[in-house]
């Protein structure tokens, strides 16, 4: 699995040594964002590689959501750049991101409650023009539970079903990079394991790159290849998931388990 990355645990800047053999699909360089006087991100650098799950961990308020929102343009950074597959997308419009191959499932899941399950999926495929029925069927095969409810209003779904719906909707965009903001929040451990297992399969089978934001560090590290720990808007450490898992001090200090 993940080769050992260069940095030692607890290094202050937290950038990895990087390897030449993998493709860095998404690169974040010195990204800083602020809400008025509140600086929520402070010089964050990280990369996400094809075929890898990169977990971004940290306590509530660490800046995880702000990181994803800045990457997809919902928040404009005060410094730094975001590079997707070699192209600088720091100033690109939010609407253009899916077309560039990056899908973002926001915090709180982003189900459009008033639309039906099927309509939610169709909105996700709108920007691609005509999309064959087989692609929708594939999502429904992946998540049989939402297939049964395809004509129900999305607000009738349970939390787990909603999460399946938004992941399925993001997959319909055929992304190369998938940003997920706290998918496990409020879900039963069994459902979390199921969704993470499926994510792993997709990543391994299709070379998708996932940036997985989680407060639930234990579950996230169990499925991720690489972990990036954020604290107060800065990267504290970047290392392989197994190394982070084994670092008891770090776990106690920043990951809460």
């Amino acid at each position: 699995m993940a080769e050992t990355h260069g940095s030692t645990a607890m290094s202050a800047t937290g950038t990895t040594g990087g390897t030449a053999t993998t493709t860095r699909l998404l690169e974040v360089e010195g990204l800083s964002s602020a809400y008025g006087p509140v600086r929520a991100l402070d010089g964050v650098s990280l990369s996400a590689e094809a075929g890898r799950i990169t977990a971004v961990l940290g306590a509530n308020g660490a800046g995880k959501t702000t990181l994803l929102r800045t990457i997809s343009g919902l928040v404009r950074p005060v410094a730094g750049r975001v590079v997707l597959d070699g192209e600088d997308i720091t100033k690109a419009s939010v609407e253009s991101m899916v077309g560039r191959g990056m899908a973002h499932v926001p915090e709180g899941r982003g189900v459009i409650a008033e639309l039906t399950v099927d309509e939610n999926l169709r909105v996700g495929a709108l920007f691609r023009g005509k999309v064959g029925k087989d692609e929708f069927d594939r999502v429904y095969d992946l998540f049989p539970r939402i297939a049964e409810r395809r004509n129900n209003a999305a607000h009738t779904l349970s939390g787990g079903e909603r999460q399946m719906l938004v992941i399925g909707r993001a997959l319909l965009a055929k992304p190369r990079v998938l940003l997920l903001d706290e998918p496990s929040l409020g879900l039963a451990p069994r459902i979390v394991a199921q969704i993470f297992g499926l994510l792993r399969q997709l990543v391994d089978a299709e070379g998708l790159s996932v940036l997985l934001v989680e407060q639930n560090a234990r579950s996230a590290l169990s499925v991720a290849d690489v972990g990036v720990v954020l604290n107060l808007g800065r990267v504290v450490v970047t290392d392989s998931a197994s190394t982070l898992m084994g670092d008891e001090d770090l776990r106690h200090a920043y990951l809460g388990f």
């Binding site: 939010v94 409650a113 008033e114």
Partner: protein
Amino acid sequence: MDYFVNVTITGLTQGIIYSAFALALVLIWRSTRIVNFAQGSMAAATTFIALALIQAGQSYWVALVVALVSGFVLGALVERVIIRPVEGGPELNAVIVTLGLFVAIQALIAIIFGSSFQSFPTPFGVRGFQVGGSTIPLTPTSLYVIGSVLITMALLVALFRFTRVGLAMRASAFSQEVARLLGVKVGGMLTLGWGLAAVVGSLSGLLIAGGGFVYPAYMDSLIVFGFVAAIIGGLDSPVGAIVGGLILGLALSYVNGYVERGSALVSVAALVILIVVLLVRPGGLFSSTTARRA
């Protein structure tokens, strides 16, 4: 019994015009959370455009089409130029902007078209059909009113339900941020939504004018009843707007027809109905606040 039927038909014909005006308000409220106080004077402006064409010798139908198209352009322009800067900001800003626009457009109408009463034609007769020897108040014009509103509503339903752009508009209306993340060009959808709403508003203005007189403030009572209808229906629900308009039209017609000196009480009755509905169901009859919260 005959009298009851007559009063009912009158109520439905008026009510469906309130429905159309209310629908215009609801379409805008749903997509931008803005109450468009300028809807009435925007509609009045397009009616005056139609009147100018008719006075210049054009047919009613040409004038109708031009008025609806200019309604669309006006609505889209208002959103792009005037509303966009205050969208997403404090709610009071948008209220003040649309109120200001209401006054400004009404003044502009008076300057351009004058403030005298001018008669506005209707393409069909206003004499009631004969049923079993007696005349009922169902006229060719009222059939035209009801029919044109129903066709417009059916077209809107088809747009929203069965087309890709309709789906994109609904997604944008319910959740702008999610829609943007899914690649929907939300700004364009809002412009389109304002344009379509203004078309529906213009239609209501043309219909209420038909066979009567127009002057810069001729829409004022329709504005009041249209707002009441929209709020009765829940402001969020197109079906609510339609039902709200019909309920209000019927109720006011019964007050007018059965209560002594009822015609003087119509406005008061509208307010009483509004208050009663809001006391029983604060969100309106068709509010979907429970669905939205999820």
